[in-house]
Symmetry: C2
Subunit: 85 residues, 2 copies
């Protein structure tokens, strides 16, 4: 699901979250937004290679794995394993 607003200072950006898994190769960046006065829920917004933005469920195990993969990509390439979630 695309974010509903660019202005995350005033309100939540995600009304719904995407449940389909995004292959890491399709990913350009991930933004993790903490909960706060603007929004009671943390939000995770993926920016895809094709320019699309999708809201992900921060509670999903696969989303946590995706984040670990992005952070640990170079390491995991050397070790030929993904970091454990």
């Amino acid at each position: 699901m695309p974010p509903i607003s660019r202005d995350y200072n005033n309100r939540c950006r995600c009304l719904q979250v995407e449940s389909r898994i995004i292959p890491p190769d399709n990913l350009k960046s991930i933004k993790l937004i903490t909960e706060g006065p603007h929004c009671p829920e943390k939000e995770v917004i993926a920016n895809l290679v094709n320019g699309a933005k999708v809201c992900l469920n921060p509670k999903s195990t696969w989303v946590k794995k995706l984040v670990h993969f992005v952070l640990g990509k170079q390491l995991s390439r050397k070790q030929a394993t993904l970091p454990k979630a």
Copy 2:
């Protein structure tokens, strides 16, 4: 260190990375940018509560812990422990 450019599609945004630890309460969001044609290194940019943006070292253990903390905040509050890095 602040990011050098808003246009991360064309070049790396970070020339140097901050090594000082950022307390999680000062953090508004974290952006993880994968390596790609625009930049050979993955980049991690923290957006602070005071509006400042700082580039972090994605290889640092504390940066990975910070990301885990943001993702697992609600869970860790219930469990009264931080997720293992």
